[in-house]
């Protein structure tokens, strides 16, 4: 046995890391640590450097939605007066608070809440509900839209740095401990290393055939969401990159006879995840990527003040830039990954990502000339998913792609 083969696979490591992370969070108080809920896109590095364990109610919700618990949990909160129009993550989470039902044994209660609105505004309101329920402080990190003018951006960064200082003060108050900036520098370095590797992994979609699909990206983004800023995340993405690189080197693609390379707009329909993959596969189509999975490829500049580079990175996520810039980000992926079509999901759960989709489609199809399918549904609640209709539309779209290919388009 060589030393290299003693390394765990990324899959094994993911399981071990996830279990360890959850155990840490569940026993946080026994070890003098704190649990904070936060949004998937938020400057969690500040927590990691201060022994505050981040928990993402969104991730927990994904686990429940994937197990098709969406409707049941939503009904529970609707009974208490909430509407079914809200984000399925929030519905599932509030349903869990009422019923205690979970796909993964639940998550610990919070000591602190942090909502960063670069991702969406829903989370602020959802966390307001939790803040009242658990009587714990809510800190809203307000990230104004990352508009293009450089002068305005400089001021936005200033505002955000001021807020991050306020956040640090709030964390010091929570824990009674002075903030350690040297530790933060170390955490930032790990976060940066993991981000570089995570992006390298995503960019492997440029190979033909692609050794990954969006479904791989969705599975493997979990570690960077909840463990960024730790050496474990760096190790994990190194192993993952090595594995995928080996596949690429051998010319192994996710789809043996890859004919169509597609872009997916929006989050996935979690409970249809596998079905969509198989349907597409039967046509030789692979969905390579989405801006959504790229939301975690940060570019921290370690030469800068950590708060400044945090502010710049978290403000400039695709969900917080202007429509033109978001289109440009998607078009960049089109070019780099040689994609030739898109499936654009208007997700009734997620106004933040969905409201721009009609206009985005206009820009992307105009610029690339490649066809796009648009469909409306919900990412987590089968009540709003029309099986037959969506399947027919996806099939019809794939047939269009086939015809175009046959015609040499």
């Amino acid at each position: 046995m060589t030393a290299a083969s003693a390394k765990p696979s990324s899959k094994e490591l993911s399981r071990v890391l996830t279990e360890g992370y959850l155990l840490d969070a569940r026993t946080a108080h026994e070890h003098g640590k704190y649990v904070a809920y936060t949004t998937a896109v938020s400057p969690v590095e500040l927590f990691v450097a201060h022994d505050v364990i981040p928990i993402y109610p969104e991730n927990h919700a994904v686990a429940c939605l994937t197990k098709r618990m969406g409707t049941e949990l939503s009904l529970a909160m609707e009974k208490q007066g909430y509407t079914s129009h809200l984000c399925a993550y929030a519905r599932s989470d509030l349903g869990y608070r009422i019923t205690g039902k979970s796909a993964m044994g639940g998550i610990p209660d919070p000591d602190f809440l942090l909502a960063c609105n670069a991702q969406c505004f829903t989370l602020t309101k959802w966390f307001e509900v939790l803040s009242r329920k658990y009587e714990v402080p809510l800190f809203v990190f307000d990230t104004p839209q990352w508009i293009r003018e450089p002068g305005a951006r400089k001021e936005i960064v200033k505002y955000c740095v001021a807020q991050l200082k306020e956040l640090i003060a709030a964390l010091e108050q929570l824990t009674g401990k002075k903030y350690d900036y040297d530790r933060l520098a170390q955490v930032m370095a790990y976060s940066q290393q993991a981000s570089v590797l995570y992006r390298r992994f995503l960019d492997m979609a440029a190979y033909k055939p692609s050794p990954i699909s969006i479904f791989d990206a969705l599975i493997h983004m979990a570690i960077t969401v909840y463990l960024r800023g730790t050496p474990q995340a760096v190790e994990y993405y190194q192993i993952l990159c090595d594995e995928i690189q080996a596949k690429a080197d051998q010319g192994v693609g996710v789809i043996a006879d890859e004919r169509f390379r597609l872009y997916w707009e929006n989050l996935p329909v979690w409970f249809k995840f596998k079905d969509h993959f198989n349907l597409l596969k039967s046509y030789g189509a692979n969905i390579l990527t989405s801006l959504y999975v790229h939301a975690w490829s940060y570019e921290f500049d370690l030469a800068k003040d950590p708060l400044e580079t945090l502010a710049e990175n978290y403000c400039s996520r695709f969900s917080n830039v202007t429509l033109e810039e978001r289109a440009e980000m998607a078009l960049d992926l089109f070019r780099r990954y040689s994609m030739n079509g898109s499936i654009m999901f208007v997700n009734r759960s997620c106004k933040a990502v969905s409201f721009a989709v009609y206009t985005l489609k206009e820009i992307i199809t105009e610029t690339t000339g490649y066809p796009a399918l648009i469909f409306e549904s919900d990412m987590g609640d089968p009540r709003f998913y029309s099986e037959a209709q969506i399947k027919t539309r996806i099939e019809a779209f794939l047939e269009t792609l086939q015809r175009r290919q046959a015609a040499g388009a």
Binding site: Q80, G81, Y82, T83, H85, L86, A90, A115, N117, C120, F121, T122, T124, K125, W126, E128, V129, S131, R132, L138, V140, D142, P144, Q145, I147, G151, A152, E155, I156, K158, Y159, A162, Q163, E166, T322, L323, E324, V346, R348, K351, A352, S354, F355, A356, Y358, T359, E376
Partner: protein, 390 residues
């Protein structure tokens, strides 16, 4: 002369005409000035005014949605949809430009779509802080005012001097003070004017030249001052606290009038949030605007103390001897959607009768709302303060 007292002054009639056909008045104004629309509720109009431009509030349309349906999904709130409908479909000829503020996911995206639709119009974002819980919010609001001031100067092709700005502050302060005075009289003498009349008088100001609006409101205040004592009896009216963002369609006010509810306090973006508190005319103008902004009543999409969603309503109600709260809920307004269950629970605990009125701009179920309102009032009067939460 007693029979004369109920005759409403011509100024009030004029204000109502404008409120009910606001875009007509803009067409006239456009012959004199460039017209800049802004969205509720946080753009400092004084800055636009001081640049020699005419600011007005874009308040949507109750006409059917045709053009904006292809641009926004149907689970966006009707305020956003009908604002877009208005500018895309009906009245774009009245506007030279826009300053749009971003308070929620809907408004953030709306701004982008809007800008793309009108590439030849002036367009500015106003990045309102979405938290007012901490000192950073004040500094940011002031900074955004400075940025907007610079942008407006460029567009208008002239400097906005501090002196011009202070004049605008004074003009708007006068306007707010007049409207607050009128509100106070209406509160004392509910028979003097209907809810619809009062809120129309406020609304007319969103569109008109501010100086002309001041003159008309001044005339109404004078009439009200002279007439109120004869109308002071509040008998037969019950005191309503009206809560929400906008009250649309305005027929809702008529319904409240019909059941003899008199609105004595509110936290609407189109009323108290608009008329409460003045801008300090001394000191740094941007900071003065920020100070006013931070003093405004609670607004659901802006984060502050999480209990303000109901704590403010309880004090509004207690301080004004309210007998019931009417919560106007714009369908698909997420922000309100998240607040409502906790608000209702708090009202139950407090024993404050509470009625939720879910509406949309293009609403087709006014009769249903009316029935709910009447049933609520009946139970309120038969059970006293135990009118319940609906």
């Amino acid at each position: 002369m007693v029979e004369q007292r109920n005759i409403k002054p011509a100024a009030l009639t004029r204000l109502q005409e404008i409120a009910n056909d606001p875009y007509g008045c803009l067409a006239d104004l456009r012959k004199r000035k460039r017209i800049i629309g802004s969205t509720l509720a946080d753009v400092p109009e004084e800055l636009i005014h001081a640049a020699g431009l005419h600011p007005f509030l874009i308040l949507g349309t109750n006409n059917p949605i045709r053009h904006s349906a292809a641009l926004l999904p149907d689970n966006s709130c009707s305020l956003a949809r009908s604002n877009l409908e208005l500018v895309v479909g009906y009245q774009s000829a009245f506007f030279d430009g826009f300053v749009l503020s971003q308070v929620c996911d809907t408004t953030q995206h709306l701004g982008d779509i809007w800008k793309r639709k009108f590439p030849d119009h002036y367009f500015e974002n106003f990045l309102t802080p979405r938290q007012v819980a901490r000192p950073s919010a004040r500094a940011w609001y002031a900074e955004e005012c400075r940025r907007l001031r610079g942008a407006l100067e460029q567009y208008a092709g002239r400097a906005i001097t501090d002196a011009a700005l202070r004049e605008s502050f004074a003009l708007y302060n006068e306007n707010r003070a007049l409207l607050r005075r009128l509100y106070a009289i209406k509160r004392e003498a509910p028979a003097l004017m209907t809810n619809r009349e009062f809120f129309d008088a406020v609304k007319a100001g969103f569109f008109m030249d501010r100086g002309e609006h001041n003159e008309l409101v001044q005339a109404v205040v004078q009439w009200a001052e002279q007439t109120k004592d004869h109308q002071a009896s509040a008998n037969g009216y019950f005191r309503v606290i009206c809560v929400g963002i906008v009250v649309e369609p305005p027929a809702l006010y008529d319904m409240i009038d019909e059941v003899k509810g008199t609105i004595v306090a509110d936290n609407l973006c189109t009323a108290s949030r608009y008329i409460f508190y003045d801008v300090e005319t001394k000191g740094d103008p941007a900071e003065a605007l920020a100070d006013r902004h931070l003093r405004k009543p609670y607004f659901t999409p802006i984060n502050e103390d999480v209990r303000r969603i109901y704590a403010d309503l309880i004090s509004l109600c207690r301080d004004n001897n309210g007998e019931a709260i009417f919560y106007v809920h714009i369908k698909y307004c997420e922000s309100q959607d998240y607040d409502l269950p906790d608000i209702k629970a708090a009202m139950r605990t407090e024993g404050i009768p509470f009625l939720e009125l879910e509406t949309e701009y293009q609403t087709t179920h006014l009769a249903q709302l009316k029935t709910r309102l009447q049933a609520f009032c009946e139970s309120l009067f038969t059970k006293g303060a135990q009118g319940g939460v609906r």
